[in-house]
Amino acid sequence: MLANLKEWLQDRKQHLDLFDETKTAKQDNPLYIIGSLVWLSWMVVIVSGVILMLWYIPTTTGAYRSIEHITYDIPFGWLVRGMHKYAADMLIICITLRIYRMYFAGEYKKPGELSWMILFASLVLGMISGITGYLLIWNQRAFWAAKTVLTVPTYYDEIPLLGNTGLGHAITYIFLGGPAVGQATITRFYAIHFGISVVFVILAEVFFYRTRRRRLNLSPFVIVLVLAFLGWLSFERLTDMGRWANPNRTPLPILSDWYFLALYQLVKYMPPLWAGIAPALLIGYGMLVPFLDRTKETRPLERPLFFTVGMLALVYFIAFTALIMLNIAVISRDPPIIMAVTAVVMVAAFMWELVHRRRKARQAQTPPARPAPPAPRATAAAS
């Protein structure tokens, strides 16, 4: 058992491909430079982050001012801050795109399971890094985002049958550093925000050292283009600071970072315990999908069920984001509609899968009518 696992790990480790660094032949396809872009934006984030640390003051009284100071007084401070912010956004976008690419192109299948799992975990960690970093500005949006996110785990104490284990409150108190969002929370968030990158940059370096792969599979032209674009973004539209966090006043409407918006809308519709469990289930599905999807097919239309699930996730992500931006949620009306739509689509996908499998099986039984002369080894038997 253990030996098997070790062998499995050994084999998958050989095929790790975290930043598309083995896809050199595919560089003319823009979908395959995403991996390198992940690495590039990550490096920009780290370098600009270290520069920001020189001036940032991680206290409730100093944080907001120090960021104002960085943006308006320090020469090129706006550039560093903008680069940090927009490169981080780019990092999340690239990882997300890459995950969708791997999903729809079936790249998570053998031998890519481990790569997929690591990337998926890095998306989750990237989002955690995003939300912890967001609090550091100490403005209204950040404050309330942090507070609501950290209240979610307290509902884990209400899981039926399990009873009150105190685990949920323990998680919350550990992150908050006490009973409220305050100084201890900033300190801890600062450490987490910074620590995630430190740990992972070391792991990534070990990986590159061991495998002797190229870090950046990009032409200098693309690199310069990306950097120039980020610089232009920070000049053109540096994020506005919002207002100083006020623990006595929740703003209306309240928004979070863009990649959390859909989740935010979902929370309006669900009982809070489910709102805590649903993301865990989503992460669980993401991590396990290579083992759930057992066929060898990689083309999306050849595996209807998983294709539909992926599309559904994408559509809901976009729809919920749009809904929350418009501040629309009629809590008595929407959830039944959403449930009904999901159920219908899932049943349809299931039927499609069954029909598809039956057709495949029939095809496999009847031998190919006339074997094509140039390729005697037919591929139809593969399934």
């Binding site: 507070k147 105190g166 108190y173 929740t250």
Partner: protein, 211 residues
Amino acid sequence: MTVGRRRLLKVLTAIPVLGGLVAVLSPLFRFLKPNDGPWQIFTIKPDLPKGGAQVVGKTTALAKPWDFFYFTYVQKFVQYDPTGYKAANIAGVAVRLPKKVKFENASGFVGYKGETDIALFQRICPHLGCIFNFIPDFHEITAGYGGYVPPEFEKHALMGCPCHLSIYDPAFPNDPGNVISGPAPRGARYFEFEIRGEDIVVTGAELGGIA
């Protein structure tokens, strides 16, 4: 002589090392441990919050029905740090209701012994902890809080949370502060209070909110 010299030396060195580790980790453990819930090991008394009695306002400020004011109650938690305490500010609202009610919510915490028409709610939303607002005009709820239209008997001042649009009715019959719309699993939390002369004195707060 079953225990070799090497072994003995190893054990002897291990003791101070382990001891040191415990010494380093124990305050950390104490620091990370939650203040409530059942994991109350290694403490003599449970870490319950203490706020003491605090005067938060005067009854004269609540002359007519639906008069209200906001206040802040400082709750102190026992904590492992040099001061020994950690304070959490709990935002609250005091409101005069149009008729007398009894305070008893689902979890059995009583805000006021007997009947009263003054209600003190914690403004920490029982959903995910935002601070909800007291909204004197219910039209504002319909306009800004997700389009909720209250039924006829609830067309009066309501409380609404900006985060996920939970709506509370401060004058809900038999259960003031009950949730009438939105994802909150329970009604607003109470303060425990007494009225001493003209002073409204908060003596305690229902546990559970993340301030």
